[in-house]
């Protein structure tokens, strides 16, 4: 606490004395009324002074008394300038116009496209609604989350697996926030589709480590997803109908320019096509998912705005009437923005989030149902304080109540046995943070902050302690809200940006994070059946320290961006399972866990071309992640499952003309680290595999080419102009296009798993590879009005 006070005093010593006034307001898109996040507000007369709009489109800029030309800029929009006489605090709301075409007639200036050089943000990948125009299309949709996996340092968990890995961290180390609500399961349908309809999203920012102090709770990344508010000027709709899935988004104002809402939904019907499959086992199988987002916002007054949003997404898999498996997330958020004064912006949020899955085997009175759930209630208060043009301070508090239900078991009466539910666990996770984004001179930019977090497991519940053999040797009982154990810690964050010249900059950073919730999975592939457990007397919080350094350089008037980032991460209290552990439905699963340390390091290279007929990027990551645990691999360092040495993505988009464009992506990565036998022997007449080390082998390399072509229907039509008597071209209100894409265009059978079995005829052992997908084509009709 003392260090927090010291930091606060240090920051406030920067208050300048003199006649300063503030210009503040809201910045929006002229056509849709959407708030613009991260817009740049510059002062023509003073170089280097400026502000950025926050996640609600609010900006505040404090300058000495005088006359200025204020410029409002954002990529993909036409810059607007206004003259202001700043002799008192001014409120100015601005709407900027999107540029219609990125082709040719674009005013490419260094400042607009050189944004990457100016912020201290490193280890960040950002995709906003304008960037979406230029990302590749998969299955007829532009999927922002899937596109993230094409960027360096972010790896997909592979076919058939949900989740992703960032800088070598596990799938549970990513905090995915949809309008501030945590989402526990990131993908639908065997990892193909992300859980959000990208048509409803405005901005997605992925922090690959070194997230600012306002975020905490996961070691490897924060994916901050902001939904659109909804068009507050007129009704608009967009969607697509495709072979595999269809989607629809509807936006409209509640009161023009004051409030709006957005509804967005998606559903697949893959199961209808499984009937055509040659594989007999798939007859009678059902597999579909749906997701639905709803959001509304209303400006109550000049200073107040309220938002309410909700999301529900579900996957359903069934195999005849004997096996059903469904899982999904529900989130809902209520928020209230309040502008206290021209420099202080505050937001209060209340969130509910639930993730669960249910497996059903059998039917009627003989049915066994196993379910698992995690439920959160969360309250946050965040402040943005624009102290002066050189300092932006953020501070706030956050408190979450988690309820973990690792196993809710219902056995049908016809079966004559019972299994007890696995006990429910409760905990409270809270945090306070304070950070400052400071500009020193013209070249140096610092972001520093401190987060204090606390995690307390509370009753009702019981805890077990285990003897050497893993049997329970004592049980302690706790009553409601009684404290079981408490952990806390300080997470400092630091980011430095030094602008070398107008073309390049050097960045560095350090951050420490704590993670209090852990995903327990003992299978070689991640499944929705993995269970979440809170920190406890036996499971200590995981801690990661990340050091990173980067060099950023732009070429050709900032149209080509290049970056090289290197990182090193140190992990403490890494969790793994003892050999032969049984975690399914085990109430004493904590006895199966073993703990140790880990480390990850790597180099990420990215070259990106953002403007012109031909755009795209090439990314390459070389990395290593390993753990060291007493009970595993003879206490020697071993590679973790998701350690992938090389990871290459090449993405290219080509706009042939106004109507036709192509997109293609090629990915290549080294296979997961995996344990294969190095020998075999016989026990009781059965062949048994002999393993000599953990994760000593690699799955075969994975590579795949996706290709898509989009044909836009004519955007203009000829209309007879009454006045002149001539035909003129007018923009059509209804836009549509056809998209044909192929996933895995050269049909490589990438290995999903490899097992060993005896050949029925020769009796010899052989390695058998299971591949999930060859080429999958899809045809989609997209529309917008």
């Amino acid at each position: 606490m003392k260090s927090l006070l010291t930091l606060a005093l240090f920051l406030f010593s920067f208050i300048s004395f003199g006649q300063n006034f503030t210009i503040s307001g809201n910045i929006k898109d002229n056509e849709t009324g959407e708030d613009i996040i991260g817009a740049r507000i510059m002062v023509k007369e003073i170089e280097g002074k400026g502000a950025l709009s926050n996640v609600y489109g609010f900006y505040s800029l404090t300058l000495p008394k005088g006359n200025y030309t204020i410029e409002y800029q954002f990529v993909g929009y036409t810059t607007q300038s206004f003259s202001v006489i700043l002799d008192k605090d001014i409120k100015k709301n601005v709407e900027i116009l999107p540029q219609t075409e990125m082709l040719g007639a674009v005013d490419v200036t260094g400042e607009k496209l050189g944004d990457n050089l100016k912020t201290t943000e490193m280890g960040v990948e950002k995709i906003s609604v304008k960037d979406v125009e230029s990302i590749p299309v998969l299955f007829g949709e532009k999927d922002i989350l899937k596109t993230m996996q094409l960027l360096p340092g972010v790896k997909s968990a592979g076919e058939g697996n949900s989740g992703f890995y960032v800088r070598g961290g596990g799938a549970d180390q990513n905090l995915i926030l949809l309008d501030e609500a945590p989402v526990y399961n990131a993908s639908h349908l065997l990892g193909f589709f992300s859980v959000f309809n990208s048509d409803a999203l405005k901005d997605v920012k992925l922090y690959k480590g070194g997230a600012p102090a306002e975020f905490g709770g996961r070691l490897s990344s924060v994916m901050d997803i902001k939904m659109k508010e909804g068009n507050s000027k007129r009704i608009s709709a967009s969607g697509g109908i495709g072979l595999i899935s269809s989607r629809l988004t509807l936006e409209a104002p509640i009161v023009k320019n004051k409030g709006s809402f957005i509804l967005s939904g998606r559903r697949t019907y893959v199961d209808q096509f499984l009937r055509f499959s040659k594989n007999e086992n798939l007859d009678g199988a059902g597999l579909y998912f749906y997701d639905f987002n709803a959001k509304a916002n209303y400006r109550i007054s000049d200073k107040d705005r309220v938002f309410i949003s909700g999301y529900v997404g579900r996957d359903q898999f069934k195999f005849g009437s004997q096996l059903q498996f469904d899982w999904g997330n529900i989130t809902s958020t209520a928020r209230w923005n309040h502008i206290y004064n021209s420099k202080l912006f505050g937001n209060a949020t209340f969130i509910f989030s639930k993730y669960n899955y249910v497996i059903g085997i059998g039917e009627g009175i003989n049915k066994v149902e196993i379910g698992s759930q995690i439920q959160d209630f969360n309250f946050k208060k965040d402040f943005d304080y624009y102290l002066n043009s050189n300092n932006t301070i953020k501070f706030g508090a956050n408190i979450i109540h988690h309820t973990f239900e690792p196993g809710d078991i219902n056995i049908g009466d016809g079966l004559g046995f019972t299994i007890d539910d696995i006990p429910v666990k409760h905990s409270v996770e809270s945090a306070l943070y304070l950070s400052n984004d400071q500009k020193i001179g013209n070249r140096l930019n610092l972001t520093y902050g401190l987060r204090y977090s606390n995690f307390t497991q509370i009753g009702p519940g019981e805890t077990y302690s285990f003897d050497q053999e893993g049997n329970v040797d004592s049980i302690s009982y706790f009553s409601t809200n009684e404290k079981i154990i408490s952990y806390n810690g300080f997470s400092p964050r630091l980011g430095i940006n030094f602008v070398l010249n107008e073309k390049s900059s050097l960045k560095g950073g350090y951050s420490r994070t704590y993670q209090f919730m852990h995903l327990i999975s003992n299978s070689t592939s991640s499944t929705p059946t993995d269970i979440w457990l809170p920190s406890s007397p036996i499971i200590k919080p995981q801690i990661a320290d990340q050091y990173s350094i980067g060099y950023f350089r732009n070429f050709r008037k900032n149209t080509i961006e290049f970056s090289a980032e290197a990182y090193y991460k140190d992990f403490q209290n890494v969790i793994d399972y003892r050999d032969g552990a049984e975690i399914t439905l085990n109430p004493n699963v904590e006895a199966e866990l073993v703990f140790g340390i880990g480390r990850a390091y790597g180099l990420e290279l990215l070259a990106k071309k953002r403007v012109g007929k031909f755009t795209g990027w090439v990314s390459y990551t070389i990395s290593k992640t390993e753990s060291k645990i007493n009970e595993i691999n003879n206490n020697q360092w071993f590679s973790v499952k998701q350690d992938r040495t090389h990871d290459i993505s090449i993405v290219a988009m080509y706009k042939l003309n106004e109507r036709l464009n192509f997109s293609t992506s090629w990915v290549y990565y080294t296979g997961n680290a995996v344990t294969f036998p190095s020998g075999k022997y016989i026990i009781e007449g059965q062949v048994v595999n002999e393993f000599t080390e953990r994760n000593g082998y690699r799955m075969p390399d994975y590579h795949r080419l996706d290709f898509g072509v989009t044909l836009n229907n004519k955007k203009t039509k000829l209309v007879l102009d009454v006045d002149s008597g001539k035909e003129i071209e007018v923009q059509k209100k209804f836009e549509s296009s056809w998209n044909l894409s192929v996933y895995n265009a050269y049909g490589r059978e990438n290995a999903y798993s490899i097992t060993f079995r005896e050949n029925e005829i020769t009796g010899e052992t052989e390695a058998v590879k299971l591949a999930l997908f060859k080429f999958i084509p899809s045809l989609t009709y997209n529309f917008k009005f």
């Binding site: 046995f417 070689t524 050999d579 999903y752 060859k774």
Partner: protein
Amino acid sequence: MTNYFKLITVVLLGLSFFSCEKVIQLPLNDAEQKIVVEAFTSNIEGKSFIKLTKTSNVYTTNNFESVSNASVVITDSDGVDYTFNEEATSKGVYTLSDYKVEPNKTYNLKITSEGEVITGTSQSSFIPSFDFLYAGPKSGLPEELQASIGFLPDDFRLIFYLFTDPAPVGDNYRIISYINEERDNNMYIANDLLASGEQIGGILFGTEVDSNDIVNIDFFTMDNSNYDYFFSLVNNTSTGPFAATPSNPVSNLSDNALGYFGAYLMDTTTLVVL
């Protein structure tokens, strides 16, 4: 237009393939050869043996080398040594004709071969017995037992067993069954962690029996280290993407040597399926 669309749909779907399996060439390291110990000892004369074999490389045929001329000695808690001798007709199999495991004793195994020494310890507990054992159609079971397996048809032929576990926790059981002298390779093991002092029962799933089949049941107790071994052995042999991360079964032999040593107390029963 609609016909064209239908044609495209059918053609496109015909091109997409769903999961396929293929045998591949996958090079593997060859671990150095190790001795594997199967030491099964019981209280029934003639039903104790120690089988010694060696590991082999993964891609060879299943011809496992046996280990001959090893010294195999079991010492009980009274300090008495029992030396097992290699059978003339079965290489690598060591037996001792009148050897019997006794209740509540600790046994130590010592194997010496080619300069290597492997030791192991096992604890014997008590001789178990069935309260109820039945082989026949489901309809022949008492009413209350039929209710617990309601989902099976009446004429389904099964082997149903019930036994009572004595109160203190720490008892582990195994059933090995033979149908017409052919061994059922399913693993039936149980412990009393969740059911101590209660009646435990069930059917031997995976065992298909017909009327007039002759069934031999070996029902025995074993210690915790043997339960851990066979439990983790099952995890090792199941494969595929949802299997546990593979590892060697938890061994009760010195230096994590491959195999197991068990001192079992057995109850054998023979019955004819109704």
